[in-house]
Structures are given as C-alpha cells and as structure tokens.
C-alpha cells in the first residue's frame, strides 16, 4: 500500500497540474507549474533517486519555471488575464482526458505490473556517472552540442531586428 508521503505528493502534483492549466492568471499558472515540477522531484526522492531529483529541481524549478515567468512578464497585461480557449472544445477535451485515463488505467491495471515489487537496493549514483562516461559518452557530447545550439538559436530568434543598426 502507498504511504502518506506518496498520497500528499500525488495530490500536490496532480492538483497543481490542473491549476497550472485552469487558473485565470498566467503568473499563478506558472507558479502552479512549479508545484507540479517540485512534486515530480519528490516522487524521484521516493524512488531512491536523489541525483535525478536534485537535477529536476535545479533545471526545472530553478531555470525553466523562471524562464516561463519572465516570458509571461513580457506579454501584455490583458493577455495574461484573458482566458483563451474554445468553450465548445472544452467538454470534448475533458471527455478525451477521462476516456484516456480510464482506458490506459484499465490496461495497466489489467497487465502484470500490479505484482511488481522489489527488495533489491537502489541504484547508486556512481553507476549513473559510469554510464555517462562509458556507454553513453557520444550521447553526452551530442546533448552538449544540442544545448549550445538551442541556446544560440533562442538568442538569435528573440533578437530585435530594429536594434541591430543602432
């Protein structure tokens, strides 16, 4: 059975995921998104992977959420508080969500995953470092290039054309 920490974390994560999409103000929405990302970091801690949890907090809660907050602040004030959605599609979307949840949930509950438990010790974070530097080293270098390229691309994209000459 699940313990209290798991229940609290799932309420925080799923509740703030709904709040991030449904709150009227985009600023409160992005703060609720921080709650979701932090809740997932808590799940990583429950899964005995503190390294991934700290990486999640540093990258998602620390940088991505702040980046989103700054972008929201660049947008006009009326747009932050305006709800832009199709009322017709809302109920269809809720129906799609429920159908998806029930169907995939039934498939998973019916599969053999229910009986999976483990008594083995968790993976040590030294093994992750070994993985990165032995088997996955080409992927690590590729990832570094992708990150550098995407940051350069983001800077070039967001540059103002009218200030180049000045």
């Amino acid at each position: 059975m699940v313990d209290a920490a798991f229940l609290a974390l799932s309420v925080i994560t799923i509740g703030s995921a709904i709040a991030a999409l449904e709150l009227r103000s985009l600023i409160y929405g992005s703060i609720a998104l921080m709650g979701t990302l932090g809740g997932v970091a808590g799940f990583f801690l429950l899964l005995d992977s503190p390294f991934v949890a700290l990486f999640q907090i540093a990258v998602y809660v620390g940088s991505i959420a702040v980046l989103i907050l700054f972008t929201v602040m660049l947008v006009k004030r009326e747009l932050i508080f305006k709800k832009i959605e199709d009322p017709k599609r809302k109920w269809a979307g809720i129906g799609l969500m429920l159908i998806f949840m029930v169907a995939i949930g039934a498939i998973i509950l019916d599969s053999g995953l229910k009986s999976v438990t483990t008594d083995e010790p968790p993976v040590d974070f030294r093994e992750i470092g070994d993985d990165f530097l032995t088997y996955y080293w080409p992927a690590l270098i590729l990832m570094a290039l992708i990150l550098a390229g995407s940051v350069t691309g983001a800077l070039v994209l967001a540059r103002r054309e009218d200030e180049i000459s000045g």
């Binding site: 979701t36 429920l98 992750i128 993985d131």
Partner: protein, 101 residues
Amino acid sequence: MGNELIDFVIVSVALLAIGIYGLSVKRNAIRMLFAIEIIINAANLNLVAFGRFIPHSGGQTLALFSIAIAAAEVAVGLSLIIVAYRMYKNIDIADFRSLKG
C-alpha cells in the same frame, strides 16, 4: 519500500491525460507549453519508476538526458512565442495563421 510500481505508473497516466487535455483545449501558446512540460514530466516519472523496480541505472540516465533536452526545447519554444507575440501582438495560436494556405 511501501510504494509499488503501479502507483507511480497511475500518477504518470493521470499527468499525461491532464497534459493531453491542455494541449487539445487551450489556445494560449504559453499554456500549451505548460501542457507539454507536464507530459514530459510524466514520461520522466515513468522512466525513473521502471528503472528503480528493475533495478537498472539506465532509467535514471535516460531521465537525465530527457530533462536536459526538455530544457533546450523550452528555450527555443519560449523564444518562438516571443517572436510570434512581437509579430501578431497576441499569444492566441488561432491568430498565427500567415503560413495557412
């Protein structure tokens, strides 16, 4: 360890369904980015959960790669939103239609 694999997978399915709802209903570009983030987090949760219960270090390694790539994706996505906002003075994706034939 009191929690079982199925619990984490159920939470992940719930997050994925919420993300799909957001992607299909919202027309606000920033909200759609929120929904994409929620879906990516559901995938990461699955990776780490399966990696814990097998147990194998590959799950955590792939989750770390996924987090880093998601950071790159958000940087490019947000700058695209800023460029589109500058051009159309709006973040409603129904207004971004100059590529429509």
